[in-house]
Symmetry: C4
């Protein structure tokens, strides 16, 4: 699948190799040769990483981090030098290391998919198949002391059920409508970035499973697969949402949104909690360790510091000046319902309501941005209170994400006023571990648990969920939790220090 559509003559790989310096830097991606000399300083991830592949094939490094069309879109046509001559490529016999052999043996011994019975299982099984440790670190990391990512999970367990009995629950129905679209679950697949770090098919695993089971996928701005690839992989009429990081260049953003609208996207989720991507130490540590010292960056050259991790390397384009004043513009450029993703206070929920957008996601970005921010579930209570006090009447949907691993979590959020909940990492881990069938199994687990728990709660449809079905008094008590969540605990890997203490004298 060559991306070079011109008919330039074939370029020998020997020729390419001669352009391996700052002064003339060619790289090969997907079989085409590109002159990126002038682009070096504009590369959001820094010039250093490109120079590492100067004169060589960079496809393997390029692919999981960029949509396929990133290079053709960003580089002027005259820098597309044409296809490389395949006959000149010297096959490199990759040696299989002992470690790789051991990894393959462990992979072969993994539990089959039908032994997976809860969403935590996916997380623990996803680490090994993840092609790169950096990728898994990128997925699983959160900011600073990772307190918020854990609070997200624990918050659900500070809400206790008050189940009703002796109601006829022979038939239970957990389907709903989200932003006007039918959904077989009160759960949507939330956006997560760089899906190919965990599986060669990346986000398409989600698309195919979602299409098959009537679930709505939110497409990430930073997906490894391109927006169109994902939409094209959908079944006819499959609804999509799209997540938006707003570009410093608003024209790029406008084109992206209007293209999404043209392709039929049903909800535009603008991320408002990430003017800058968070410091994620697991990610930062691996970045540091993985980096070969290689050729030193030259004195005075401005570059992304090498201790920033994947997250910050890919996010330089995000506009930190985005503010409430921009909302009317967004409402003017598209008819897609607009949802602000990342609201954390009642105050901002009211501003959002007043701004005319169609809804909000109470979220702390999966614990990846401001550490010791509160969980979406906790915020939900103050937000529904504030909206009630304001006398809010127009359609304004509230979503929650972060830490959801059980149908019971979903039911708690809905009882407290959420329309639906977003689940990101759990579906991501599902396909890292088992591809599309993993995602389908995850959906099946939600279905099984929803049926069970709705019956046990005494509700037959989601409409019957009421605040008095939960005791949420402990939710904003910021001290202690009761019984430990051992699955979560067995899954969570604590932050480590620079060096282990037992290496001491």
């Amino acid at each position: 699948m060559s991306l070079a559509s011109n008919s330039s003559p074939l370029i020998s790989s020997e020729t390419a190799k001669q352009h391996a310096s700052r002064d003339s830097c060619w790289i090969i991606v997907h079989g085409s040769v590109y002159d990126v000399t002038d682009f070096l300083d504009e590369h959001p991830g820094g010039s250093q990483i490109i120079l590492k592949y100067a004169g060589q094939d960079a496809t393997e490094a390029y692919e999981p981090i960029h949509p396929p069309d990133a290079i053709t879109t960003n580089l002027p046509k005259n820098k597309h030098l044409g296809p490389v001559d395949p006959d000149t490529i010297v096959a490199i016999a990759k040696e299989v290391t002992e470690e790789e052999k051991r990894r393959q043996a462990l992979l072969a011994a993994r539990p089959p998919l039908d032994e997976i019975i809860n969403l935590h299982d996916f997380e623990v099984e996803s680490e090994l198949p993840c092609p790169s440790a950096k990728g898994w670190a990128y997925y699983s990391s959160a900011s600073d002391d990772e307190i918020t990512i854990r609070e997200n999970r624990l918050a659900f367990q500070r809400v206790w059920f008050r189940p009703r009995v002796l109601r006829n629950v022979a038939k239970v129905d957990w389907s709903t409508t989200i932003l006007g679209q039918k959904s077989s679950l009160p759960v949507y697949i939330s956006a997560t970035a760089l899906g190919k770090l965990g599986h060669p098919d990346g986000e398409l695993n989600l698309t195919r499973a979602a299409g098959k089971h009537g679930v709505i996928q939110m497409i990430a701005t930073l997906a490894s697969c391109s927006f169109d690839e994902i939409v094209d992989a959908g079944v006819p009429g499959q609804p999509f949402f799209v997540q938006l990081y707003v570009n410093r260049d608003r024209e790029i953003t406008k084109r992206y949104v209007q293209h999404a609208e043209k392709r039929g996207v049903k909800g535009l989720f603008i991320t408002v909690d990430a003017p800058q991507l968070g410091r994620r130490e697991k990610d930062m540590r691996l970045k540091l360790i993985g980096e070969e010292s290689g050729a030193k960056v030259q004195e005075g050259q401005k570059d992304v510091p090498k201790d920033q991790g994947v997250a910050r390397a890919i996010s330089a384009f995000i506009d930190p000046s985005l503010c409430w004043d921009d909302i009317p513009w967004f409402l003017s450029i598209t008819k897609i319902p607009i949802i602000l993703k990342g609201i954390s206070t009642a105050e901002d929920a009211l501003l959002a309501y007043d701004s005319g957008v169609h809804g909000i996601v109470l979220s702390n970005h999966g614990g990846r941005q401001l550490d010791t921010a509160r969980s979406g579930l906790e915020i939900l209570i103050e937000v529904t209170d504030a909206l009630k006090k304001r006398g809010a009447t127009r359609q304004f949907d509230i979503f929650v994400d972060g830490g959801v691993r059980r149908a019971s979590d979903v039911l708690k959020a809905l009882a407290l006023g959420a329309k639906a909940v977003g689940v990101g990492r759990a579906f991501l881990y599902a396909y890292c571990a088992y591809g599309q069938p993993g995602v389908e199994k995850a959906i099946q687990i939600f279905r099984d648990e929803l049926e069970m728990n709705m019956r046990l709660l005494g509700v037959t449809t989601l409409d019957e969920l009421r605040p008095e079905m939960v005791d949420a008094r402990a939710l904003n008590v910021h001290t202690g939790s009761i019984a430990e969540d051992n699955l979560f605990r067995g899954t969570y890997q604590p932050l480590s220090l620079a060096k282990f203490r037992d290496a001491k004298l």
Copy 2:
């Protein structure tokens, strides 16, 4: 003990072996041959498990899961083919494995019964003698993250005593009356299912110990021993309660209840918190691991998914449409006092009071149904408050079960308004570990602890227990507990993930 009472000619085991397919399926149970071909699709546990024994003796698998008369009751007479010819049975010399030898050595080294000094001891000693790991998993498992099963225990430890001193406690009396029946303890033996999974005599261990010591046993619908076997094993005048899962076919339920009444049962405990049996992951994991892959189920054939565990395999008959409208019917078919087992809110306690039943059990089904449901002890406070506010005057008994391991737990529940408490698993573990003498020792431990703790509390009869003798302010604080319950902690086995992390690279 042949259950076939007809005088059919003997059937050769060779002949039976020829009926080993979906088209003609015979099985041998307790020395009789049955044609179950037409019954395959009706079997609540699915056809697959029957087909595994097609043409063979299924007694060993049949026995712990079914009462002895289940097959004769459910199968039309003409499918009872008659006794198998014992001379045609080829004895299989079972090889004693190394693992079995080690198990026997460990069994021999177990502590004698008189070294057992608390109820936790029974739990830890019951695992090894349990004939099948599946059985112990079935008993000990609870739903989802097993938060509620642990909360049940911890809740008692959030209630602190306010003991009175300098009262003459030379004589203390812990006997009481439950639903009009004398009981030597303010504790009844609550229903637990499938008793033969843990001991060949199953529930009869309880019956015999209860009869000897003046304790009341509640007979489970899903007992391994039949209802009549249990009642027959009682001493003259021994009172019983019966627990009821309501069948989709109300006639079966009616027959069962009226038979119980005829046999003199003194309380009918209708389970209302289990329209469907919970997802219990320990049970599910073992079911998965234990299942030989065997002959694949055919395409399109409807069957119980193989990852459901014992609990769901045996509970397909339970009616999820049971509701408040059914209560008058129950009151009309029997004069036995009716108790609703599994109430979790003040709202439902008031509905129960208004419905005319005779009492309620505040229970979450031992943590086996809705996870993060509150403990019965916590619910007790809101229920007694609500009944007082309602001005409840007629006889209406409140029971509590779940997590009781100490006489002090019992006294706390009684001080807060319970009439008596139910103890299920602890007695079950007692007989798994030591048979009937184990149950007697458990009763003895309750007696010793009750005597001690009543003296230390400053009460000589249960009537003197008062709410002000406990400080229960922490009961509905859903965060943290103080000092750890190390016995409980040493006993409780945390949930495990699909595969242990240390098997990773």
Copy 3:
């Protein structure tokens, strides 16, 4: 030191050996022979333990459990058969086992006393030198789940200081007056039983250190040394308190109290929280393991069950019928100030005030009686409130004991209204580990810490302590604690189950 003061002829040890049955049972104690045949069934610890030594020298077993005069006091003169002939005693060459050698080596390697810097150190160092594991188990055990013993410690850490600064603290004075007696510390040595289980000099270690440093010792009813031995060991004018278990035979109690008064005792602490001694499982377990199966007790013979531990074996004489009605009698038989030890509620504190006694100890008996009883420190707040509301004006001292390990604990109790605090185990451990110098070091540690902490709190005398110097709002919050007390945690040995799980299959 022969206790036989008559001039009977010497008895050969061979002769004694012939009286080794239920029908004729002689034992040798401290070189004298006694006929205990008729006493067997009256022995509070049961006949079994005596029969074990029938016809033999029982001194080693007798000594730590009984005051020296117990046998001569309880046995009629005519059963004192006279001195054993020392020439007939066959010396038994005790073999030094490998384990004993290892123990001696460890003892030799113990840290010297001047490396002991806090009271926890004594506890951890006392286990090894303790002559018998049973003894240490008796000392360290508490009741049921040992929740209260730990809560006693943790309660102090839920009280936080509000220290005042810039006060002239050049001179600080921590001396006080307790029941009219000068004390160099606001701490008295509380009664603990059976001191010789831990050190051959038993309670005399306390007496000598107390006399030297101006601290008041409370003599236990169940001391290993006799009351007179202890008082005789005091320096001239050394004040003592005495602790009283009230005997079923009030004449014995009267004699004991009036003898104490004659010997100048300054406070009578009547234990009111122990109508029966608690179930202490560590004690019970060791008792079971240590007991040789030996000769079986005969059928039908009434005896103390062998699983009761040391505590219950020695306490059969305590009167469970003791009640408020007895108080006037006590006030009538003695002029010693009477203090009720073991009050746990404001209600009983008011009853005590009204009864005319001189004070109370808020105590749960070191966690050894009713488990999940609250700590004395927590009770202190409700008691001082109740007395203030009652308008209490007469002299009525409130003491607290349980869990004190730091001078800061003492200061917290005094700030909240206690007159002084009792410390039992910590001093006991101090002499088990290091004899009298250990107790002196413990007193020294209190002095050092009091000086330091009073300065840091901004007080120069104990009178200046005020409730507003502590933040005790968390004291009755029965959930969670903040940072762990690692010393306490390192010292505390969790309860164990009957058999360790890792011995399982």
Copy 4:
């Protein structure tokens, strides 16, 4: 660098060796010989430590504990005997031990500075390079059970953010003004003592980094480098604060303060929470173990007990009679703004306000003084409330220190009303581990985290921080915390008991 400026003849080291007793005691420091015979009993650290070096070169032991001019200042001129004859010094070939070799190997394998990504990393990396275990114990120790030092950290994590979104945060500015001095961070370097125990350049590492990056250093009274050395190392115009332990001899204090004023110091921080330095058990244990038994101190000789640790050895000069009455005197002797360091209650904050000083530091001395004192952060809330109620109008700055490891901690304190926060240990650990570059990296980490977290909070300058941006309701809840701080936990070394339990039988 000889400190002896007179022209005495050279003294042979052989001659010095002959003065090695209590009667005539000479020591060599920095190449000069001193007669300290008369000074032995006045030495704040006791005579014992000097006698250890009698007749020998004491420089290595002297240096990290004293400023270079301590000996020349304190000893009368006539005791300065003159320079030692260098030719008479016998070089001692130090043998490199196996342990030292292993230590060097570990040092070589330490992570390079650019792998350090948070302040905890410095702590864990500082232990190994610390030249003496005693030094690290001195730095890291806190008082008694070390509950307050940990609470200091955990308190920040009981405050949760309420971040605002959609504010233009393209430019963020975290600079501020502290006591009229520009500071590039809202953080100052708080005083810590004895810097050379951790690095040969001691506090100069801080001075140089502070000068380079516009941060203000507070100079400690007990610095290893002398006050003038530190000030001299600053860049032109570099602002300093100075911390003051008030001497029993007020003239010494007056000279020190007025000298500081002459040298341009901008803030005088008088320590008010240390009338006596705390009992720090880690410090005490190491002191005990490190001490060679050596020559016994003679009977009756008064000396500092050898179990007091470094802290108390060096602090005998501090005046415990310092009180509010002294404040006017301080205000009279200097024009430097005076800040009281170590206020712990609203009451004392109001007294400080009324006394006319310019500000206060809410501090518990890094957990090194009164254990179970509350954290400065918690106190902050009651102090700002009290000042508001008082109607405080004049300039009165509130600072907080203790437990700060993240920029988010700083922002929480500022949101709640602090002007700036002090950071002591973290900068100390930074230079122990990596010298001056370590301190610079620490400053850089604060900058990175401040930029990130201010953006995520939605503020562009520190002025925009508001109390409503945090949820601090859990701050004074003294029970439990939520998710663990694993870095902190991995770093913190629990107190140990005198001997490890596993050395037991």
